[in-house]
């Protein structure tokens, strides 16, 4: 890891709330920079969130074989940052354009559209609320959803990062999905 990122991760692991916030800000800023670059590319019409998270990791970290726990923290924070980026875009999409009349100031932040897979922007916002509630009751499940859905990591990668079995994670994933599905479809 670059020195300052490694220092922040170590401090975050030690429970330093300011370090967690600083690390989140670094990761968030890097993801936004990478997102803008990718979306501005002539050949790039779709931003792959998985690739983005991995690219941010490569940029902020040195792959020196150490710091597995550092990678866990990094990817967890990167997933959280991607969640915020995606949800911010969903809100902007629903809010619409600013300004009045025919002349409008146009915001680069709203320059991309959002594809939530099968979820429309309003459903993404409801999912975000449901995920926040899940996080209050079962933080481990909420983090799993963040890392998989928003961070784009697959269960095998998450199992490796968390030193747990894929079977266990698969069970957790199905339970997290079911609980979130119930929140979005309470008449199930």
């Amino acid at each position: 890891m670059t020195d300052d990122v490694e220092t922040l991760i170590e401090a975050a692991r030690g429970g330093s709330a300011p370090a967690v916030q600083a690390l989140f800000a670094r990761v968030y800023d890097e993801l936004k920079i990478l997102a803008r670059k990718q979306l501005a590319g002539a050949a790039a019409s779709t931003l792959n969130t998985t690739a983005l998270v991995h690219e941010a990791y490569l940029k902020l970290a040195k792959s020196d074989g150490r710091g597995l726990h550092g990678r866990v923290h990094f990817f967890a924070l990167a997933a959280k940052a991607m969640r915020q980026i995606v949800i911010d875009h969903a809100r902007a999409r629903l809010t619409g354009k600013r300004g009045g009349g025919n002349v409008q100031w146009i915001d680069v932040e709203a320059a991309s559209d959002l594809s939530g897979g099968e979820l429309a922007p309003d459903e993404l916002l409801r999912l975000d609320s449901a995920l926040t509630r899940l996080g209050e009751d079962e933080p481990r499940l909420a983090q799993l959803v963040e890392m998989r859905f928003f961070g784009g990591l697959d269960l095998a990668e998450i199992a490796l990062l968390q030193a747990t079995s894929e079977r266990t994670l698969n069970r957790d994933w199905r339970r997290a999905k079911a609980q979130l599905y119930v929140h979005l479809h309470p008449d199930v």
């Binding site: 997102a35 979306l39 501005a40 790039a44 019409s45 779709t46 931003l47 792959n48 969130t49 998985t50 980026i85 995606v86 875009h89 902007a92 354009k97 025919n102 002349v103 409008q104 100031w105 146009i106 915001d107 680069v108 709203a110 320059a111 991309s112 559209d113 959002l114 594809s115 939530g116 897979g117 099968e118 979820l119 993404l124 999912l127 009751d137 079962e138 959803v145 998989r148 859905f149 928003f150 961070g151 784009g152 069970r171 199905r174 339970r175 999905k177 079911a178 609980q179 979130l180 599905y181 119930v182 479809h185 199930v188």
Partner: protein, 119 residues
């Protein structure tokens, strides 16, 4: 209702053939209808969820969005910058937009505005 117990019963139920789950659950939850109802609810959700949140959301640039406008603005931006102006270009969100005006403020720091096509 114990959340950990709900989770454990849900995980164990997944390992059973669907036809056996109801009887098994009734036996496990004898006297605890709230837990049984919650596990059954999660199992129904699991059966319906399918592709729910299986694909990560992506950010895409659609045809007719700001990226087409950016392509139009780029040559103009280069021309202005070549002429010694500092340009702060903004790009449009989804929707067809055209560049109608350039406003030069004091210090020759133009900002590009865009208005909706036909507006």
């Amino acid at each position: 209702m114990n959340r950990d117990r709900v989770g454990a019963l849900f995980a164990q139920a997944l390992d059973l053939p669907e036809a056996q789950r109801a009887d098994w659950l009734a036996e496990q939850c004898a006297g605890d209808e709230a837990t049984r109802a919650e596990v059954e609810r999660l199992l129904r959700a699991d059966a319906k969820a399918h592709d729910f949140i299986e694909r990560s959301p992506g950010l895409i640039a659609q045809a007719g969005s700001g990226f087409e406008l950016q392509a139009k603005l780029a040559p103009l931006k280069r021309s202005l910058e070549g002429g010694g102006f500092a340009v702060d270009a903004v790009v449009a969100p989804a929707g067809a937009c055209g560049v109608d005006d350039l406003i030069f403020r004091d210090g020759f720091d133009p900002r590009m505005l865009a208005s909706p096509a036909g507006g």
